[in-house]
């Protein structure tokens, strides 16, 4: 459960950082450069997926290792 709690804290810190630093910029991009925004949106979600997949794989490996 410690790992899940750490994951939750990391995730909360991450999305506050994302909203703080990227929120305004993405909003402006969405208003002014739609095609660039569309490309950036896909890159962001795929990038986050790849990073979180590694983090959650590591986390689940630890959790499964403990239960075996």
């Amino acid at each position: 459960m410690v790992e899940l709690a750490i994951y939750a804290v990391l995730v909360i810190a991450y999305f506050f950082l994302v909203l703080h630093f990227l929120g305004g910029w993405l909003h402006q991009l969405e208003l002014r450069h739609r095609y660039t925004y569309a490309g950036v949106a896909i890159l962001l979600i795929i990038g986050q997926a790849v990073v979180l997949e590694s983090v959650t794989t590591f986390l689940l490996r630890i959790l499964r290792g403990r239960s075996e």
Binding site: Y14, F15, L22, A38, I42, V55
Partner: protein, 300 residues
């Protein structure tokens, strides 16, 4: 919390929990889960156009995680997924054009609702019949894990025997089948995706099992891989039209990432017919939502 792109105030915890639940469903069944995500985003006041576009962006992220996990488990046929992506995108465009035609005729809501209820109920009825029959006929022989068998398998074998050039060999799935059959299955999935919204995994996953003869575990993993490509295309077109709040999708995805892993790993412990039987309530939930919308006049 304010999400500036859509102007919506939504709790990030709510988004992460919704993402987590949809992630489990997606990882286990190979579906996008838009029939839950759309209403869940609408329930907190997001406009319908943003709910549809943002959900697609979130589906991309969740499918990357689940497909990577399924690939590690040997459940993804990359060749099949790439071929299907072509048919899906073509079908999605035709589905979207049909919607535009119905909009001009002024009866889009009624037609889409009736078609979707009929499709959802048909899929559930057929799958409950087939998977129960398969489980009953193989009682005592079926083990947990990737063993697969279907009472409807003779239909897929008959389709595989149709030698319509060019034939495609899919060693990972253990199937040799006409390219046109794959494209047709993908096109129909894409058509429903464009017509009814979402990724249409509820059509594509069963079609891959019953029509193409792909084992259930591979159908789930390959469908997720294919969804990455088709949902990315959908996200791009919706983002250009101003229908995507990527910040909401990123927050939802933090929950979905772990849910998708759990769902994908869980498939190892269930035989194909059991996964298909457990799939049955998903289209029924979709049908219930549409019936509610039709009767009450409120969009969930």
């Amino acid at each position: 919390m304010l999400f500036p792109i859509s102007g919506a105030h939504i709790s990030p915890i709510y988004l992460a929990v919704v993402g987590f639940l949809i992630g489990i469903l997606g990882g286990f069944f190979g579906v996008g889960g838009s029939f839950i995500a759309g209403p869940a985003l609408r329930a907190v006041g997001l406009d319908w156009n943003f709910a549809v576009g943002t959900d697609l962006a979130h589906i991309v992220g969740k499918s990357v995680v689940a497909a990577k996990r399924h690939r590690a488990l040997g459940n993804v046929d990359l060749k099949l997924g790439l071929i299907m992506a072509v048919g899906t995108i073509g079908g999605a465009e035709v589905g979207a054009q049909l919607i535009q035609m119905l909009k001009r005729a002024g009866n889009v809501n009624l037609v889409v609702s009736v078609v979707s209820i009929a499709v959802y109920l048909s899929i559930s009825t057929f799958m409950i019949w087939e998977s129960r029959k398969t489980l009953a006929s193989s009682k005592g022989r079926l083990q947990k894990g990737k063993r697969d068998h279907s009472e409807f398998g003779h239909v897929a074998h008959a389709i595989q025997r149709m030698k319509i050039w060019p034939m495609v060999k899919l060693p990972v799935s253990g199937v040799t089948i006409s390219l046109w059959v794959i494209l047709l299955v993908a096109f129909v999935g894409g058509l429903f995706s464009g017509f009814l919204g979402g990724g249409a995994g509820y059509i594509r996953m069963p079609s891959m099992v019953y029509v193409l003869g792909v084992p259930t575990h591979l159908a789930v993993g390959t469908d997720l891989f294919e969804i990455i490509i088709s949902a990315s295309y959908g996200t791009f077109t919706h983002a250009v039209k101003g229908n995507v709040d990527i910040l909401i999708a990123l927050v939802m995805h933090t929950g979905a990432a772990i849910g998708a892993q759990i769902g994908a790993i869980s498939t190892q412990y269930f035989a194909g017919p059991k996964i298909r039987l457990a799939f049955v309530p998903l289209p029924l939930i979709g049908a219930a939502i549409v019936i509610y919308t039709l009767l009450s006049g409120h969009k969930l």
